[in-house]
């Protein structure tokens, strides 16, 4: 009985996966598809993998690590260095005599076996990228995983910075190109099936496969052991789970996939430079994980597409200086704006009421305690509404505030709101396919009667 159900689920999953790939492939090749959409899809898929790898470590094993950018860096550089075409190595490594490895994995295989060889080469280099990252994770893990959560975060952050400094070291220049840009290596655009472009299909394919492996891992006995460590590591140790070994395992696997995603990012950007892999990148991944839900793989995937979509595309208009056309447009704008503000305030107040929180409460010590975040939010909303009215009355047509950089401010505010008020994230700790079922409470079961 159970086997049949599993098989059915597996087939459905496979069909969905194929459908997605076909859809993405269609988008790659149809005319009039905005290139922004493709960018968002590609970058989203890559960030999805990083977010899942971070979730594996932070969300499923409970190890708060901030070293992701360092492992992405290692993976990106490994991949790039291995695939820069031989004839371009001289110009890429201009600053260093005899720079470059003198061979290119993808070029050699591609020349002998065509597209298939290219694919094989890329796969090999991706795996190597992951292995290099995983190797460093093994090195770092030995001393670092014994630390308590905050210290672990700072130690991994520190290691990421050290890795970044080392990679830029002049003496390693002939291999890494020091602090200069690495480019020219095999990218997604090099893939095609006959005349069909596969630029977006490839990241989806690679990312999807990796995420699939992580899902398998999470649902295996080792994944359960990781979750046990997260929930209560004292009990886990008492039940025979070796903490050091399993934490290291989780760390290495997470870094392996982070390395692969770094390589995928390199392929997407067609260039790599160490300076881009700063702590800020890790923070972005962390925010994606939190928004999606710590402990939910589908959440991380959804959130990364949302994040990339909003930051690259959706909120771009906030950066442009906008002048409205005429009075009618102004009124339309003012109404929509006003309604939006009112809706957000209503939603916020409702959710506060549902949780039983009040703006100002009489605290035990007699003095009122103020929920500053909510009060501040209300104040901002009130000011916004007042401004809205004033704007309609005034002769101006230009919208204030909208200029370069505003997008990121709004973005950061939204993130803070999510972190403060929607800590569970989008999916909480559930997966997309769990939404249908519910873990029945004991009471409900009792109500059903004897079974």
């Amino acid at each position: 009985m159970i086997k049949k159900n599993d098989h059915k689920k597996a087939w459905i999953a496979l069909m969905i996966a194929v459908a997605v790939l076909v859809l993405v492939g269609a988008l790659d090749n149809l005319p009039h598809v905005p290139s922004m959409l493709l960018t968002v899809l590609q970058k989203g898929a890559i960030y999805a993998l990083v977010a899942v790898s971070m979730n594996l470590l932070n969300g499923f094993t409970g190890l708060f690590s901030l070293g992701q950018a360092g492992f992405m860096l290692l993976g990106a550089y490994t991949y790039a260095v291995l695939t820069v075409p031989v004839e371009r190595q001289a110009s890429v490594y201009q600053r260093y005599e005899e720079g470059g490895l003198g061979f290119s994995v993808t070029q050699s295989l591609g020349n002998s076996m065509g597209q298939f060889g290219l694919l094989l080469g890329v796969v090999i280099c991706l795996i190597l990228a992951g292995c290099v990252a995983g190797f460093f994770a093994w090195l770092i893990g030995l001393p670092v995983l014994k630390l308590k959560s905050d210290y672990l975060a700072i130690a991994t952050l520190g290691f990421a910075e050290i890795i970044r400094a080392v990679v830029q070291y002049e003496k390693l220049g002939p291999v890494t190109n020091g602090s200069n840009l690495l480019y020219g290596f095999t990218g997604f655009t090099d893939f095609h099936l006959g005349s069909l472009k596969l630029t977006t299909v490839m990241p989806f394919l690679f990312s999807g496969l990796c995420i699939f492996v992580v899902v398998l891992l999470i649902n295996s006995t080792y994944g359960r052991a990781f979750k046990a460590i997260r929930d209560d590591e004292v009990a886990a140790e008492a039940m025979g789970i070796n903490l050091a070994k399993h934490k290291r395992m989780s760390f290495i696997i997470s870094s392996f996939f982070a390395g692969i995603s770094g390589a995928l990012l390199a392929m997407f950007q067609a260039s790599v430079q160490a300076v881009a892999f700063k702590a800020a990148m890790t923070y972005e991944i962390l925010l994606i994980v939190v928004i999606g839900g710590i402990g939910s793989i589908t959440g991380s995937a959804i959130a990364s597409f949302l994040f990339v979509g909003c930051s690259e595309w959706g909120l771009r208009f906030l950066d442009n200086e906008t002048t409205l056309k005429n009075f009618d447009a102004k009124v339309k704008f003012a109404v929509i704006f006003g309604v939006l503000i009112a809706a957000v305030v209503a939603f916020g107040l409702l959710s506060m009421k549902r949780k039983g929180e009040k703006l100002i409460t009489r605290a035990a010590q007699g003095r009122p305690a103020v929920r500053w975040g909510a009060v501040l939010g209300l104040a901002v909303a009130a000011i916004a509404l007042l401004w809205d009215v004033w704007f309609v009355i005034s002769p101006r047509l230009k919208l204030p505030l909208l200029r370069s950089g505003f997008r990121m401010v709004v973005f950061s505010v939204v993130i803070m709101i999510m972190v403060l008020f929607f800590r569970e994230g989008i999916m909480g700790d559930k997966e997309l396919w769990d939404l249908g079922k519910k873990k029945r409470s004991a009471k409900a079961k009792a109500g059903v009667g004897n079974e």
Binding site: Y169, G405, V409, I415
Partner: protein
Amino acid sequence: MLDKILPYLLAGVSVGGQYALIAIGYTMVYGILRLINFAHGDIFTVAGFVMVYAAATMPLSVSIPLTIVLTVILGVMVEKVAYRPLRTAPRMSVMISAIGMSYLLQNSMWYLTGGLAKQYPVLPWISDRVNVAGTTTSRVTIITPFLTILLVVVLVVLIKRTKIGMAMRAASRDFETAQLMGIKINNVISFTFVVGSFLAAVGSMLYFSNYATVTPTVGAMPGLKAFVAAVFGGIGSIPGAVIGGFIIGICESLIKGSGLTTFSDAFTFALLIVILAVKPTGLFGENLTEKV
């Protein structure tokens, strides 16, 4: 030999003092809330920007105190908005909130300043060049260590001799029991942030008198290094943070002097790894055992 090293030593002591002032903010907050205030480095940067704008429109006698007051207000508001609501949440959530706050502050600064680097105003007298043992340096370099030590002494006296200081010590020993004993914990925490932000503001004035360019991300590295200093000295220990700050400042300066500039940042982190591996509680930290 000494005259070759001297300028670097002086620079190191100077920047070390600035790190120390920032590190104190980290260590005090961590001692009580067990929170790494990632936004602290950005508060330091904001202090720099406020000064830039204030000094452009007001005389220094107004802009200096104004900067300090505004920085303190910002620090306290960050606590009330981003950390207080999450006080009962798991540690990871608060840390994420701190990171998010840091992100917000950086983006806001970028937006408000248009992304261009600003020049810090020259503060008279402290920016003057002076002659010390054969090398010229700005007076800031000489003043910083003395000022730092003075402030630290005042702070330590405050913590050891006043009621609020005792409350802070109690709260960092055992947060919940302190509350149960009637200590107004919110006031203690706000006061901690007031002190931390005040020191960050002072630190920023000294720092930017040396390195006069202010950008939104300029505080990230000093902030992180100050945090390492706090960990190195023993998180929760103020003297430790100060000593850590000076050590990191001096070593960093000497490394820069010896030509390995790319590694000056990495050195700080290597130091962090070493101390975490050898004695995670830092030089002056305490050991805690968990009851099973």
